[in-house]
């Protein structure tokens, strides 16, 4: 089956990203396809490479990045939500005159159209959040 995943909550505060990660991993292990993972609302916070959890805890961002690398996942961070919350890549830094970036290179910033397209193209859109 072709899945897309929407994550609406930030890391650590909320289990949504953990559950989504486990769902994605299990689906891939079963041979399903993940068309896209879309990060929305505070979910965009799952993409900052500056995240530094205590050493004995999971690194939610790196975990997504590694899964993305391994399976060549399309992991999209909503641009409007990212701008509000200070998630920045090179393009956004230049466009908005910011002095730094923080996005992990496995993620990409794009528009909400990517979410609609994912919903239309996939057999199921699975939403994680409150």
């Amino acid at each position: 089956m072709k899945f897309s995943i929407q994550i609406n909550e930030g890391p650590y505060q909320h289990q949504a990203s953990d559950s989504a990660y486990m769902f994605a991993k299990a689906a891939l292990e079963k041979g399903h396809e993940i068309f896209r993972v879309f990060f929305y609302h505070d979910g965009v916070g799952n993409s900052t490479r500056l995240t530094t959890p205590p050493q004995d805890d999971r690194n939610i961002v790196n975990r997504w990045a590694e899964l993305g690398e391994q399976h060549n996942l399309d992991m999209v961070v909503c641009v409007a939500a990212a701008q509000r919350r200070g998630i920045v890549d090179d393009g956004e830094a230049e466009r908005n005159g910011k002095d730094a970036t923080n996005i992990d290179p496995r993620f990409r910033i794009s528009g909400l159209g990517q979410l609609i397209e994912a919903a239309v193209q996939s057999d199921r859109l699975v939403v994680f959040g409150d």
Binding site: L112, V120, L125
Partner: protein, 136 residues
Amino acid sequence: MSESIKKLMYLNRRAPYGTIYAWESLEVVLIGAAFEQDVSLAFVDDGVYQIVKGQDTAEVGMKNFSPTYFALGGYEVTKLYVEKESLEERGLTIDDLMPLTWEDEDDDWAEKDSIRLVSREELAEVMAGQDVVFSF
């Protein structure tokens, strides 16, 4: 971009200003309108407060985005399901909601109500008939 038309429902469950879900849901609806899918919105639980008329956010220092709902008709978003029980539980009636309408080009641009008052049971049926439910 899409080879088929899907039935997409945006399910709005939360009050408009305590969290950003309502506003960011509306942003998805507006962007999604360009995809020419079969779109509907549903308002349940505290989500019914999103379309209450006379919203004034001056005191909380947030943008009052409620006028944006009036734009939906122009984007061909014409089906707004409102759950009757959610209104009643909050002491509201349809008269407390904004008079949201759309113009039907197949009926000489007649102005028609966008809001469809449905029972919890009826809404469950409408939801079951969707291809995608975006939950906000």
